[in-house]
């Protein structure tokens, strides 16, 4: 018995020591973690500029974390740039971020959590978050909710829900121009014959966003390299590094000399490099991982939208329920051009086409540039109003072009055009 008590006593002693140890570690650690908040709030609060500083508490729910170097990382870059830009306007943003949230009721909980934490604005970064956000939004009419990349807000009869996307097809088109110029250069130099100009595209799913993306990319390439064709391989995952590499590798083996992708990882770029073919990227600058293959990349810059939405909330103004901009507001940006391997004159051509896109002189989905089963596209609907997931209203084809992201921010071009071969469409 005595022994047991002695043991108990020594345990307690050890425990209290451990607790003290933890406690003594805390002032330095706690100080570090506690400091950023006041320091973030004070300087601008004490700014002599005269204009009163406003603080907005913004929640951000992410499907991954910034280590993915792709989708979520791109949001975090947008978040940081917007914070900086807003600080210059005297608006402080107090962020509460939730990482690695699943597309299930955990997302609903995350929204409730952030609402209870006092957020004025809550941003959901993944497509599949929207239905769960919509369960929470009606209970907090004073809080604004944003579902990025999704599409319910124009018709959900709620005042406080918002959708946002960017005209990424513009960036895809430009990346396609870069790829097409490289292919044409290879044809002109005799490295490949005209009919060997084949692009391989690694797609996630046969989802409108992906189809719209590779079609615009293909049209960009064909605008400068008329003989180009494309093969698309779907991998059945938004992010699966191994499968993406396998798909890229298979495409290269089938004779594709240019690889592009709509998936989250850099493995298609590294595979292209290993296979000695070229590559254009998405979400991220991939030149560092594949300096001999990666020509250029394109990505959505979320900063302009975040800045716009947060500023509106700070000023108590309402903002668009369905926002979609592209080059016009720098919501779509190109990563650096790899001048060392790009075809000569690419930078100039890029600037020229970009200018045409900005001015509206050039339409990406110009119906005179593509056919479907040999026929020109004359009619396609944009919106699904009855919930059966098939577009049934709003004619998207007018003025000689299919108007993508015009009636709603989320892409709705889901047609299979001539010149693009779908190797598998099992995922749709």
């Amino acid at each position: 018995m005595k022994k047991f008590l002695a043991l108990l006593l020594s345990m307690i002693l050890a425990l209290s020591l451990a607790a003290c140890g933890g406690g003594s570690g805390q002032p330095s650690g706690g100080g570090q973690s506690a400091e950023p908040q006041p320091s973030g709030g004070e300087p601008s609060g004490g700014e002599p500029s005269g204009s009163e500083a406003k603080t907005v508490k913004v929640g951000l729910i992410c499907i991954g974390d910034e280590n993915d170097q792709g989708y979520t990382y791109n949001f975090i870059r947008g978040k940081e740039a917007a914070t900086e830009a807003l600080a210059a306007k005297g608006i402080n943003v107090d962020w509460a971020v939730k990482w690695n949230i699943g597309e299930d009721s955990g997302c609903e909980d995350a929204n409730i959590d952030l609402a209870d934490e006092g957020c004025d604005l809550i941003i959901n970064n993944s497509f599949g978050f929207e239905p769960f956000m919509l369960k929470v939004a009606p209970d907090y009419p004073e809080i604004e909710f944003i579902a990025c990349t999704n599409q319910a807000s124009w018709g959900d009869s709620l005042e406080n829900t918002h959708n946002a996307f960017a005209n990424i097809y513009e960036g895809r088109y430009l990346a396609g121009v870069v790829a097409g110029m490289k292919l044409q250069q290879m044809i002109d130099e005799g490295t490949i014959s005209a009919d060997q100009a084949v692009i391989g595209y690694v797609g996630a799913f046969s989802f409108a966003e992906v189809i719209s993306g590779f079609t615009s990319y293909f049209l960009g390439a064909r605008s400068v390299c008329p003989s180009v064709t494309m093969k698309v391989q779907f991998v059945g995952s938004w992010s699966d590094a191994t499968e993406e590499a396998n798909a890229a590798s298979a495409l290269a083996d089938m004779g594709c000399v240019m690889i592009s992708q709509h998936s989250d990882n850099t493995t298609p770029a590294t595979t292209a490099e290993a296979k000695g073919v070229y590559h254009t990227g998405y979400n991220n600058d991939m030149i560092s991982v594949a300096p001999g293959a990666s020509l250029i990349g394109t990505r959505i810059d979320w900063a302009p939208y975040f800045e716009y939405a947060i500023e509106a909330v700070a000023n108590g103004e309402s903002f668009d329920q369905d926002w979609c901009h592209g080059m016009d507001m720098n919501a779509v940006v190109m990563t650096d051009l790899n001048e060392a391997i790009a075809a000569p004159g690419t930078a100039e051509k890029l600037a020229e086409v970009e200018e045409q896109l900005r001015s509206g002189k050039l339409q990406v989905f110009d119906t005179s540039t593509f056919t479907i089963d040999g026929k020109a596209l004359e009619s396609a609907f944009a919106l699904d109003t009855d919930g059966d997931f098939t577009p049934d209203s709003e004619e998207a084809v007018f003025d000689g072009a299919f108007h993508e992201s015009y009636f709603q921010s989320a892409p709705y071009f889901a047609l299979s055009i001539d010149g693009i071969e779908w190797l598998n469409s099992a995922f749709g």
Partner: protein
Amino acid sequence: MNREKKIPLIRLSKRDGMESWKVWCIRAGSVLFALALGALVMGLAGANPVSAYGVMISGALGKKSAIRQTVKIAVPLLGCALAIAPCFKMRFWNIGAEGQITAGAIAASYFALFWAGRLPSPVLLTVMGLAGALAGGLWALIPAFFKARWNTNETLFTLMMNYIVIGVVRWLQGGPWEGRKGSQIIPQFDEAACLPRVLGVHCGWIIVLVLVVFMHVYMNHTKHGYEIAVIGDSVNTARYAGMNVGRVMMRTMFLSGAISGIVGFIVASGANNTLYDGVAGGVGFTSITVAWLSQLNAFAMVGISVLLAVLSKGAETLQTRMAVPTSISDIITGILLFCMLGCEFFINYKLIFRGAGKKEARHG
């Protein structure tokens, strides 16, 4: 001297009949020890451990909405722990609860998606629950049948079954049940197919509390429960007593799978209002810990599952308020579980050090 050397530094010996107050002291001590270790981890991550624990508790239980979420997390854990308890009592290692939950969710979702307009809500929900139970039960029956008939290894069998059924859900998500083309998302259920809320949480919590009482009675006061206990202690004794071991195994696994299936129905209909491949979300595995920690006592499971739910909800809040990564709280949960399970070792065995051995001998 020579003999002395042969004795290892530490020896173990089985301990029996420790006073219960001592047992509880050891258990409480292990929790405190785990919390102290956890504090150390939090300190390393740059958070003040005291306020971090405070945030976790207030985040999980501080507000009505927080309590509701905590309950929502605890419900499937508790339900699933109840499901596997009889199997474990029988020493049938069912680690396929994950798949049984998913099977139940698929069956329930079928009715939710295709029968919503045709049946009134209470009937529809009952049908969904029954379908979930049946599907989960049948899914569990397969490995039980093989075990009873050919004595296959149930651990591997039940585990592999999980991946099959999760694969089925993936196929449904991208194929026949997909909503918007290419989205891989099954549409949200009609309102009639969603469990109604009671006190702000879907009424699954009432169902599992009823199951707690049922399971307690079943395990302790029925012939079935007795048979399970006997088989768990010794299969040969059970045979000698004339029990049909294979039959009891299959019956128990069916029951276990059926309860898991009901949990699947609760999660799909009550929490997510849709079906997706993560519907079980690891509950089938975490609930093994719940069942084990509560030593298969149905009432203790309530407490343990709430404790785990508090930890997990608290960890979420910790992340938002103090920017501590959730992985840190996973580490803390892991430490806590490890210490709680580990302390049972010290309750059942004692360590004898080489030097102390002599003293013991003198006494004995």
